[in-house]
């Protein structure tokens, strides 16, 4: 064996040379090791006999096209699998991956095809594992995000009415104050509770009481604009932040609309429950510039309504306004 031939057999890639009749002329040692075909058995055979996949129409065409155009062709193992079946396999499509390069060479003035075979099975598997690992991470990440979102939503919402809860209200107030202090805009804080709610619970039971609270939440939400903020603080206490008030007098219209919501009784199963509510209103920035002060002033106004007969509303600093059901 010449030095050159010896070198071909020492290479760590597969080398196959076929002539213009598709007869194998060279089958190096790497190919022997990987396919189990001894060079003595492979050489002299038709390529598709040793590697049946080259008998498939598409690969026949590729070989033909390289011969005719004399343009090299690269075949990615990721797409084609293993064209030379690894030892013990028949088709070479069960997981083996080979990158293949086919080029025209001249030997003694005759064109031949040089086929270089690189085994990328291990590498491909690693990449697939990495890919599946990335997918798992992504899906776990999505799940975590979902859980976090649910947890955040639960932490900030009242389970019974679905409205924002006290924590959410406090955060919203903080955010509103931070953003509005510089804009000199007016907003109103409404502190509302249902008149005689304890009697509703005592007479109709807590399940009905819960339904009344849910319906109250729905009606309050329906009475204000989408940009306003309605929250349930606790028990039968609700708060509303009315944003973008141009003048204080406008709030009276909204207050009347809120009161209107309770004109129609609430129906729970067969019971018809008439309720009324009282609420106090304070304004930023006239009545205070902190959440605590604004809430306290609205509460003071509410207290004044409660003390003077309930079923009405009052603006902090003013006389309680009455509305009739």
């Amino acid at each position: 064996m010449s030095f050159g031939d010896d070198l071909l057999h020492q290479l760590s890639i597969g080398l196959v040379i076929i002539d213009s009749n598709n007869t194998i002329r060279l089958w190096n040692r790497w190919m022997e090791k990987k396919t189990g075909f001894a060079s003595a058995d492979a050489e002299g055979q038709q390529l598709y006999v040793v590697s049946p996949r080259f008998g498939e129409d598409r690969y026949r065409k590729i070989i033909e096209s390289v011969c005719v155009s004399r343009q090299g062709r690269f075949l990615a193992g990721a797409i084609h699998g293993a064209l030379f079946a690894p030892e013990g396999e028949v088709t070479g499509v069960s997981g083996g991956r080979q990158n293949i390069q086919i080029e025209v060479i001249e030997r003694s003035g005759k064109p031949m095809l040089l086929i270089q075979v690189m085994d990328v099975t291990g590498h491909y598997q690693k990449v697939q594992q990495m890919r599946s690992f990335i997918r798992t991470l992504e899906s776990e990440n999505d799940e975590m995000r979902q859980i976090e979102q649910t947890a955040r939503s639960l932490a900030l919402h009242d389970v019974l009415t679905g409205l924002p809860n006290r924590l959410s209200f406090n955060q919203h107030m903080k955010w509103t104050l931070h953003n509005l202090k510089y804009d000199k805009e007016i907003f109103a804080v409404v502190f509302l509770d249902i008149d005689g709610f304890k009697a509703v619970n005592d007479r109709f039971g807590h399940a009905t009481g819960d339904e009344v609270l849910s319906e109250t939440g729905r009606r309050l939400r329906g009475a204000v604009r989408g940009t306003d903020f309605v929250a349930r603080l606790a028990g039968d206490e609700f708060t509303i932040i009315l944003h973008g008030i141009k003048q204080k007098a406008d709030v009276v219209t909204v207050a009347m609309k809120i009161a209107e919501q309770f004109r129609v009784p609430i129906h729970v199963k067969k019971d018809e429950i008439s309720i009324s509510c009282s609420f106090g209103i304070s304004f930023f920035p006239d009545d205070g510039d902190s959440a605590d002060v604004l809430m306290d002033k609205a509460d003071q106004a509410l207290y004044r309504v409660k003390r003077t007969g309930k079923n009405g509303f009052a603006i902090f600093g003013g006389q309680p306004e009455r509305y009739m059901l």
Binding site: R73, A78, I79, R131
Partner: protein
């Protein structure tokens, strides 16, 4: 730089071969892939119209996948196929039978994806360069393409390829099941190769008229 007539002649020749590449890609992707070259431009980087082509944007800045190969003898140069990386991933997924129609970040291109892109580029560039060989009746030898992921900034985008004199730019368009992937084939030519090409096209026009 090319007259409409010259462009038409070139486009017609190239589209025949690109059609063959499309059928090979369809086979690889197991779905119909339509491939066309809707526009061709010949750009001289030192010509007076330089600012014009720069504005036209060969490719957007950002991550691109660039495959390139040299070809030669008498007619010689470098051929390149360039895709935005996110779009390249669509083609790879299609060929791997994992086509979802979703674009993916460049970082998600893995080693085996580059093998697939190498084959795609090989098929397309072979068709285009092969066509030049036929057109000029020249035997063109060329290597297999090298594929790389490159990040091109806005400034770099303008200076990309500036060392060459002439560039033949083929805007390619791949239509997959639900996605359109656009790329450019750039053939950078030296002066003599450029003259050879123009002379041949003019000769064809002369024979037609």
């Amino acid at each position: 730089m090319l007259t409409d007539e010259q462009k038409d002649i070139l486009k017609e020749h190239i589209n025949v071969y690109i059609g063959q590449a499309a059928s090979m890609l369809s086979e690889m992707a197991s779905q119909k892939v339509l491939l066309s070259v809707p526009e061709i431009d010949l750009i001289s980087l030192r010509g007076p119209e330089q600012p014009d082509w720069q504005q036209k944007l060969l490719f957007k800045h950002g991550h691109i996948v660039s495959s390139s190969m040299k070809f030669g003898h008498n007619f010689s140069g470098r051929a390149m196929l360039i895709f935005p990386a996110r779009k390249a991933k669509l083609l790879v997924d299609a060929c791997m039978g994992e086509f979802t129609g979703d674009e993916a970040p460049a970082a998600e291109l893995l080693d085996t994806d580059f093998d697939v892109l190498r084959e795609i580029s090989n098929v397309i560039l072979n068709s285009v360069i092969g066509e030049f060989g036929n057109l000029l009746d020249e035997k063109l030898e060329f290597s297999l393409p090298d594929v790389e992921l490159v990040f091109v900034s806005e400034d770099e985008q303008k200076s990309y390829l500036q060392s060459d004199l002439h560039m033949l730019v083929l805007y390619t368009s791949f239509m997959l099941a639900d996605a359109k992937v656009e790329g450019v084939v750039i053939i950078a030519l030296g002066v003599s190769s450029y003259s050879m090409l123009i002379a041949k096209i003019d000769k064809i026009i002369g024979e037609l008229t």
